[in-house]
């Protein structure tokens, strides 16, 4: 009975979602999901301007638990499938969980490098499962995240990474919670705002985009995550996906 009323009421933010790990797609992931990430990769390839070597893309969202880390990680993986050299940067210096996803420790990482505790070579971690993919973990937790991210050392790091990699994908904290993303977004070539279907308020998306534009970030657009089709169109599309997945298998 309680579940019935929960279902009736609008979904509200569940704080426990904040602690959930990003979802890294494997070979068993549904065809339609893998195709969606492939499409996103294609669109990002076309829309992101490339200056001074590679392209740096900021991935952010309005609020926590909207799927920005999932989008960032899986987009990076998709880029590597096109033989691109990709580095994933966990710029959420307060709660970043990228290292946990790869079953490693967060230290040493980005924050440690910026404060000068470690060298550049110490923070670059190649991911064995995905050739061409490396990542930089969060590092030591800090409350002075914005100050570290707006530092010249961070700007220099982005330039260095762009020179070395085809794509630099930076996973940042939510925009309307903390201002950390605003320190990085203007320094990158494009910003992807992640919004979760039937979860993120449209006004919040608009506000986030206004904020990014005000800080002179190049907003590439919105990536809609966790999209659930209506029953009728789901039936229709699942048929199409089945047809094409079957076709590609042959």
């Amino acid at each position: 009975m309680i579940n019935f009323f929960k279902k009736l009421s609008k979904k509200s933010f569940d704080p426990s979602l904040e602690n959930a790990l990003p979802t890294l797609l494997d070979e068993n992931a549904p065809f339609r999901v893998k195709e969606a990430f492939r499409n996103l990769k294609v669109v990002l390839t076309v829309t992101t301007p490339k200056n001074e070597g590679g392209a740096a893309i900021t991935v952010t969202s309005s609020w926590p638990a909207e799927g920005k880390s999932t989008i960032a990680v899986n987009s990076a993986v998709m880029f590597t499938k096109s033989n691109a050299k990709v580095v994933l940067v966990d710029a959420d210096l307060r709660r970043g969980k990228l290292a946990k996803l790869f079953s490693e420790k967060s230290k040493p990482g980005l924050s440690d490098y910026i404060v000068g505790d470690v060298e550049y070579s110490d923070i670059i971690r190649p991911v064995a499962a995905y050739p061409g993919l490396s990542y930089i973990a969060r590092g030591t937790k800090t409350d002075a995240a914005y100050e570290l991210l707006e530092s010249q050392k961070m700007k220099d790091l982005i330039k260095k990474l762009k020179a070395e990699y085809d794509y630099v994908i930076i996973d940042t904290p939510p925009l309307l919670s903390v201002s950390d993303a605003l320190a990085i977004a203007p320094e990158t070539d494009g910003t992807v705002l992640v919004a979760r279907h039937k979860f993120t308020n449209e006004k919040d998306i608009e506000e986030s985009i206004d904020l990014l534009k005000y800080f002179k970030a190049n907003v590439l657009g919105v990536a809609v995550n966790d999209h659930v089709e209506d029953k009728l169109s789901r039936k229709h599309k699942s048929g199409l996906y089945y047809y094409y997945s079957d076709y590609t298998a042959k």
Binding site: L8, E18, F37, V43, H197, V222, V224, N225, V228
Partner: protein, 262 residues
Amino acid sequence: MERQDQNEIDLSHVFRVILKRLWIVIVATVAAAIVGGVFGYVRYHDKNYYGTTITYDVSIVSYVDGNQQNGTNYSYTDKHMTRMTELLSEDLFMEELMSGIDGAPKRDEAGFGAYVSALKSALHFSYNEENFNGLYVTIRVLNNEKFANTLLKRVEEEVPLYVQEHMIIPTSGDTTKYQTTCEEQSIATIGLMNGGQTRREAVKFALILGAAAFVISCIAVVIADSTDKRLRNYEKFSERYGITVLGVIPRLNENTETEVQK
């Protein structure tokens, strides 16, 4: 033309919203219909009215030198018939009826007024409004068939006498005299007057409440939808705010409500 198109789009949106939440509308409608049906049943299931309608032919007979004449030269009007029904509805006539009913209180006894009121509510007098010669007496007694039969007997005994006695036509001074006659047209028997009423009332209330719930739930669903500002239709959102949608990532497992993609 543009305005018309806009209206059509809005209407189709409303229908889509209702279809999407049709289960809420159906549940509300069925629940209200059940409540209405139960209400109608509870309200009327123990209310059985026993009675009948007796038809009297009221006419005027003229006598000349004591001999009945063919035809009359005097007839009742709407005004006379109205007066007749008023007379029959008065306390005096009720008292007349009570005088022949076992256990009915006398004028100076307790419960007299209540008994008169009960009788008045059980009896209804009307007349034929086309030719003013038909008097109708309807007996309607709640849940007491025996008393209905007693009342029928008393009405059959008293109404003709009372009408003939009180509806007096003044003589014109010559040898012609007039007399009112009141004769029952057919044998009346007491029966159940509201057979099937419980079912009808249950259905009626079920339909009324069901229809009301249907309309209210449709309105509620549309209002709830219009107040929901979450991102639902990304194509419209993109159009409305001029924001590019780079990609749409489906839920990993659409059957799992709690699936988390962070």
